[in-house]
Every structure is written in structure tokens, then in C-alpha cells.
């Protein structure tokens, strides 16, 4: 396949829902170490709600339509910071996708960039603040320099996000609940960066 269509976008989020459900305990454990201990449960609630709503879409939705549905559902159901952050990301991604039926590599980079910019605007975090921005920013850069193939771009983004999540471990948090902990957050991986890595890995696997 050389382009990503609505069916892929749908497959992506069905895969994310399954993977979040499987790994919610792990995400929550990361969050319990340096946050309020609900990241896995919150995301699971949000993506289970997404699963319930995907059926309401047309037979052949555009990537933008799927992203928008995911965004509004997460905003309404997650209940923690991840809701407005991922919601804003996918809403901005949906706007960047527009009504294209398929995303080529250039459009994919546009969507990922818009999503990252949405998270930065909403959360006002910068790289090295120990947040999901530390996974999104290298992912966008990797996708951009991966060349013309969407699968290569998604794989590069997924790898960079995973490395970015690992790289949050030695950081002191400057945003989010972990910022209250100061030095005590050092040595723990940021749960939002980890869930971003999960999202992008499933994106690559379903393409």
C-alpha cells in the first residue's frame, strides 16, 4: 500500500483500543509512580468509547472523519489531561487531513505535525519537560525525514516515539502532575510519552 485511507485509520484505532486495554495496567503503573495513577484506565475508557462509536461511521469514511470522531470521543470520555491533549491532537490532525480520501507520506507528515502542534498549544509543554511532547516531537521529525513511503514514515515515527519515551526517564518533570515531585520523578518513564509510543507503534503495525 502506498497511501493511508479511512479503513486504515479505523483499523489503527481499533488496534489502539485493543492494545490500550491489554496494557492499561502498565500505563497506570507508570502514572502511579509519578502522577495520579489513572492514565491506563482513563485511556481505556476513552478508546472503548471510540470502539462503540466507530460503527456509526459511513462504510468508507475519510481519515479526517475517523480522526475527528476519535478526537471528540476522547475529549468527552477520558476525564484526565490525556483527553483534551489527545483530543486536541486528533482534532488538529483531522483538520490537516481535510477531506482527502487517502493520506500520502507528505499528508501523513502534515497530520502528525498538526497533532503535535495541537498538543504543544494545549499543554504548553516543551521538549524535555517529561511529557508526551518528548515522544511526539522526535516522531514527527523522523516521519519527515523518512522519505516518500507512508509505511517507512510510520515505522520511523514509531521507533522515534519509543526512544523518546525511554529518554523521558532521567528527566525532571516541568509540566503535569509529575512536576509536583521535582527530583523524585527522575528514573520513571512519562506515561503520556509511553502511550504516544503505543499509539504510533500500532499505527505502523496496521498500515
Amino acid at each position: 500500500m502506498t497511501a493511508l485511507d479511512g479503513a486504515w485509520t479505523r483499523r489503527w484505532f481499533e488496534g489502539v483500543a485493543a492494545e490500550v486495554s491489554r496494557r492499561k495496567g502498565e500505563l497506570t503503573a507508570l502514572d502511579r509512580a509519578i502522577g495520579d495513577g489513572d492514565h491506563g484506565e482513563n485511556l481505556d475508557r476513552g478508546f472503548q468509547a471510540v470502539l462503540g462509536k466507530l460503527d456509526a461511521l459511513d462504510d468508507a469514511p475519510t481519515p479526517g472523519a475517523v480522526l475527528k470522531l476519535v478526537a471528540t470521543t476522547l475529549i468527552s470520555t477520558v476525564g484526565g489531561a490525556a483527553g483534551p491533549l489527545y483530543g486536541t491532537a486528533f482534532l488538529k490532525g483531522a483538520m490537516a487531513a481535510g477531506d482527502r480520501a487517502e493520506l500520502d507520506a507528505a499528508a501523513l507528515v502534515e497530520v502528525l505535525t498538526a497533532a503535535r502542534d495541537g498538543i504543544v498549544a494545549r499543554g504548553k509543554a516543551e521538549p524535555n519537560d517529561k511529557t508526551m511532547v518528548d515522544a511526539w516531537t522526535p516522531a514527527v521529525e523522523a516521519a519527515r525525514s523518512a522519505g516518500g513511503d507512508v509505511r517507512a514514515a510510520l515505522s520511523a515515527a514509531a521507533e522515534a516515539a519509543a526512544a523518546g519515551a525511554v529518554a523521558t526517564e532521567p528527566l525532571v518533570a516541568h509540566k503535569g502532575r509529575a512536576s509536583y515531585l521535582g527530583e523524585r520523578a527522575v528514573g520513571h518513564r512519562d506515561p503520556g510519552a509511553e502511550s504516544t509510543a503505543l499509539l504510533l507503534r500500532v499505527a505502523a503495525e496496521t498500515a
Binding site: S76, G79, G83
Partner: protein, 224 residues
């Protein structure tokens, strides 16, 4: 019509408690709680915030007070998606003190910007603070009052709110013990107890009237 308030908290109990507390001093202000998740858990609900923004809007705008981080993110996301975002302001203020100060300002008929300023404790400082040696504007007058506070519980929130409303009603810069008498948070921070002798000073065209009104208020024990 008055500016409305929305209280966004991770806890339904906190939001309802803040509404109860702030509402005690602002009977005619719409103060709406948006606390907890849709299923009653700890967290914030976009749908609750959105509904509260609608319920609190009477046409003069809404000021939103939030507790921890994701409450702000949820509120900002909700504001982004309403029809008239310019009529909604998220105050950068502590949720309890900010809500009380905003409620008093809204009850006094302040416009949106002034209610936000009250919540954030950015109320304009007196033009000529007592003892600061600043030159008074031409034609300005000054007045002074020293009285003993007779209220049983001192100048607690309700009488302090009465003082703020009275001080704000005149074209004069009024201070109590040297702090701006139109700032509820500053007045409360003085911790003025019963039996304390306190000094009010005013400067500006209506300085005398302001001090007269405050004297009447003190004699009436602030309505208590």
C-alpha cells in the same frame, strides 16, 4: 444580568463546596459546579464543563475557576469549541479564594475583565496610597476614619465583601490599613479581629462620601 462563574474541579465535592461558599456572598450570581467525571469519579468532564458554561452565561460572560492542570486543559478545550469564546475567561487564580473574590465582584456588577482581575487579585491599586507621598490629582480630596471593629467575628468574608462593594462604589481610592479596600483578598489577608482599631483612608473627588458611607457601614456592623 451579572457575569457568571463556572467552578471546574477534579472532585464534584470540591466544585459544589466552592459554589456553596462563594454563593453565600453573591446571591444573584450564577455559579455553576462542574466537578468530577461523568460517572462520578475523580477527573474532569468536558461535557459537564460545556453544560456549565451554557448554564452560567446570562449574556455578560463567564469566568472559569479551575483546580489542577487537566481541569485547565478541559476548560480550555471547551472554550475553544463554544460559539462565543471571547465571552469566557479562565482565571489564573486559586480556586477557592479566586471564586470568592470573583463572586463578590460579579455581585457588585463588575464587567468580565474586572471580575477576572478580582479573581486574579489584580485590582487597580489606589491612585494615591496612604502615606506613599504621591501627589494627589488636581482637585482631589482626602478623608480619613479611625474606628474600632465591633463585629463579633471581625472582618470575615461577608462583612469584608460589604466593605469592598461600598469602597468600589465611589470615585475615590480607598484603603483599609494601607491596603486596597476594593480587593477582597487583600482585605481578608489583613485578618482584622473584633476590637481592633482600623484606619480607612480615601483620596479622590468622592473621598469624603466614601468615608461617610464606610463609617455608616461600620456603625451598622456591616449588616450583621
Amino acid at each position: 444580568m451579572t457575569v457568571g462563574l463556572v467552578i471546574v474541579s477534579h472532585s464534584a465535592k470540591i466544585a459544589e463546596g466552592v459554589v456553596e461558599l462563594a454563593g453565600q456572598m453573591a446571591a444573584s450570581v450564577a455559579i455553576v459546579a462542574a466537578g468530577g467525571t461523568d460517572d462520578g469519579g475523580i477527573g474532569t468532564s468536558f461535557d459537564k464543563v460545556q453544560a456549565a458554561l451554557t448554564a452560567a452565561e446570562s449574556g455578560d460572560g463567564v469566568v472559569v475557576l479551575c483546580d489542577l492542570g487537566s481541569a485547565v486543559l478541559t476548560a480550555e478545550t471547551a472554550v475553544d469549541l463554544v460559539d462565543a469564546p471571547e465571552r469566557i475567561r479562565i482565571a489564573d487564580a486559586p480556586i477557592v479564594e479566586g471564586a470568592v473574590a470573583a463572586a463578590v465582584a460579579a455581585q457588585g456588577g463588575d464587567a468580565l475583565d474586572a471580575v477576572v482581575a478580582a479573581a486574579e487579585d489584580r485590582v487597580a491599586q489606589p491612585a494615591a496610597p496612604a502615606g506613599a507621598g504621591t501627589a494627589l490629582p488636581a482637585g482631589a480630596d482626602t478623608a480619613r476614619l479611625e474606628v474600632e471593629l465591633e463585629n463579633e467575628h471581625g472582618l470575615h468574608a461577608r462583612p469584608a465583601a460589604e466593605l469592598v462593594r461600598t469602597a468600589a462604589a465611589f470615585d475615590a481610592a480607598v484603603t483599609v490599613e494601607g491596603v486596597d479596600a476594593t480587593s477582597l483578598l487583600r482585605v481578608l489577608a489583613l485578618g482584622l479581629d473584633r476590637g481592633r482599631r482600623i484606619t480607612f483612608e480615601a483620596s479622590g473627588p468622592q473621598a469624603a462620601q466614601a468615608i461617610e458611607a464606610i463609617e455608616a457601614l461600620v456603625r451598622a456592623r456591616f449588616g450583621e
